[in-house]
Symmetry: none
Subunit: 217 residues, 4 copies
DNA sequence: GATGAATGAGGGTTCATTCAT
DNA sequence: TATGAATGAACCCTCATTCAT
């Protein structure tokens, strides 16, 4: 009974390892970063907390000091990475610029803040794991997608009023504007090996397609 | 009796041969159908072969008579479901109809043959599991995506020549034409709970957007 | 992903081990017997299913073919071992013999069917683990203790009517008759190392004490 | 300041010394009290030191300043709670009162000092955990049980000499006198939920049974 | 071919114990 | 002294895979 650890055995023979101990370093952040790597690379179900711990430079048990369980780690990972986006969306100023200009800025924003960062992987994780994590899908829908849809719809409405757009497709389906962004993310994870896709050029070409080439700026 | 096959003999390496019982190998089909259900519902890693077997009405061991292992089952599932599509693509006739008309037929085809069928789930599986199954991603890329891209590029080229399109976006990025289809599939798996998306209307609105409303038939 | 077992590695290099395969042999029984041993020796919480499996000559996973989990194994163990006792109790014939005679037969029965068998350990397990397993305590109370109490009360009642007993202590507290049996079981598990207790003599001395020495047959 | 004790020095082996803060080492007491609660409620193996610490209002590490490990805590807990009993036993005066009277006083003592106090739980812990803690079983046997047995044997001897008892059962098995006390403790932990047992009445009825009702006082 | 009982590696989670502060 | 974050061994349970029948 109670064989918790041989009492006579010295642990960690030498004071070697123990990499990161700069007190200021937030273990939680390290774990989240490592989890994102592992979940992205192997998927939620297949990722091993052992690997997350190793990558974060902590012991396996340490993860449980910060997260109730694997699923919670995943959910908090998504929330943590997305919350700046959520905040930015809520603070999004309504401009009076032409829609095409706004759209181009959105592309820049998307590339800089999402596509070129770890957030791209978070989005991909949501797309791939979301069906098994309704809570995450809902969070993403309510906090991100719904906002974006609303904003785009309003933009499209005004663009029509101003004559920048000649039909109401984007009002009825604002998702259309974001479609290339989603596809770019998916493509990059699936097919870049065989055919790399220049996401920014891809999305700009899309604007050319729907607004007409060079009509803007 | 019993015909106890010498114990040291390697069983047929499985996967290879096949094709005997005239009317379509009902067991194999049942397993594939069951596997699609389970993989779609739970993802590859989380799906249990036990459930696949139960759903298919066979014993667990039977699966291994037809497929080397879980991964092979998955790969053959994708191939089996996609091969008609592949064949259709290869036989796709090049028409001289206006691009918008062709695009509308593609939408109909997509809705009827993909979106309204189990193939939608196969596509979704490829999108979500592909990153962990390069073989599948590659197969899908080479046999489906590349063909579609080529076809669309050719269509776009001609459309430009005929003045139906005024810029080369679709030539440079034929993926743009398929983007809404992809997004529709993803949306349906993620967000339909909160906001159902009418895939066909969605894609038609897209054509309105890029070709101009009602300009075509 | 899916690293279920290296495909090329041959398992169980030699067809050695595989002890018990005499088809007729009930795995379930072997597991229950092994579980009783392990639970008795180490207590429920500390017993390792690994050891149960090893002792039963089966693989760890096999246990789960027969029992949902560790706790279920424990509960079914208790039920399985006690059910003959329960049946015997229900079929217990009411005799007209003097109470002392009946009590002596009960002692013989107790020694032969409980104390000299694995059931002694089951009773001990109930006494020690019961507080943490209300379901087991209740089962034992309802199916065994309550019956025994009822039977003894009836016996005591009649003994009073016949003048074999001169007070109603055993009617009010039939448990008194069984107390030495319980104490014998506890003692044997705790103190036999330092002072062995002859359970049968112990209980017979008890009858001498309450009925008077040698007054009965 | 900080007085950072040279890192290589072995901390006081813990357990030994102790005894300084005048008014009874409140921390140590708090830990022992908390430990008794937790061990009683969940058993040794299942109790968590985390909970003990929380209940005692100290940090987890603090426990280790007072006790080498979980097992030592348990053993010292038993010793601490029992030592007053041990002392009382050693000082037990030999009276010349009739045995029944003495027995009744023992019952009162048992009820007041054991059954109505936390010591009941300590006894129960010994009974349930003893088999896995030979050191505790032995301590309890030597310091408590053996003494009690000796005392009762002497009492019984004299009772026979005086004609208060007509047979030697209690001389040969003094444990018989304590049996109902043990059973009362066990019953209260197991079956009180379904059938509460009045321990004092139970033990008094026992005296009625073996000495004859009302013959005493 | 077909079955499904059996296997056992793998991984999530817990918790006694340590130690830097 | 006291703290509590960190550690990592241990253990329950799952499930892909095998194989005797």
């Amino acid at each position: 009974m109670a064989k918790p650890r041989p009492k006579t055995v010295k642990r960690r023979a030498a004071g070697a390892k123990r990499k990161r101990t700069s007190q200021g370093e937030p273990r939680r952040e390290a774990i989240l970063a490592a989890a994102l790597e592992e979940f992205s690379a192997r998927g939620f179900a297949t990722a091993r907390l052992d690997d997350v711990a190793r990558r974060a430079g902590v012991a396996k048990g340490t993860i449980y000091l910060y997260f109730r369980d694997k699923e919670t780690l995943f959910q908090e990972l998504v929330r943590a990475e997305l919350s700046p986006v959520v905040k930015a969306l809520e603070a999004a100023p309504m401009t009076d610029l032409p829609m095409r200009v706004v759209a181009e800025r959105l592309i820049e924003l998307f590339v800089r803040e999402i596509f070129a960062t770890r957030r791209k992987d978070v989005i991909r994780l949501i797309l791939t794991e979301g069906p098994r994590f309704p809570a995450i899908a809902e969070f993403y829908y309510r906090e991100v997608v719904a906002h974006v849809v609303t904003v785009i719809r309003r933009l499209a409405q005004r663009a029509i009023e101003r004559g920048e757009l000649t039909n109401d497709s984007l009002v009825r389906f604002p998702q259309l504007l974001g479609a290339p962004g989603i596809v770019a993310i998916i493509w990059s994870g699936l097919f870049d090996r065989w055919a790399k896709l220049d996401a920014e050029a891809f999305m700009r070409a899309y604007l050319d397609l729907i607004f007409g080439k060079g009509r803007a700026p």
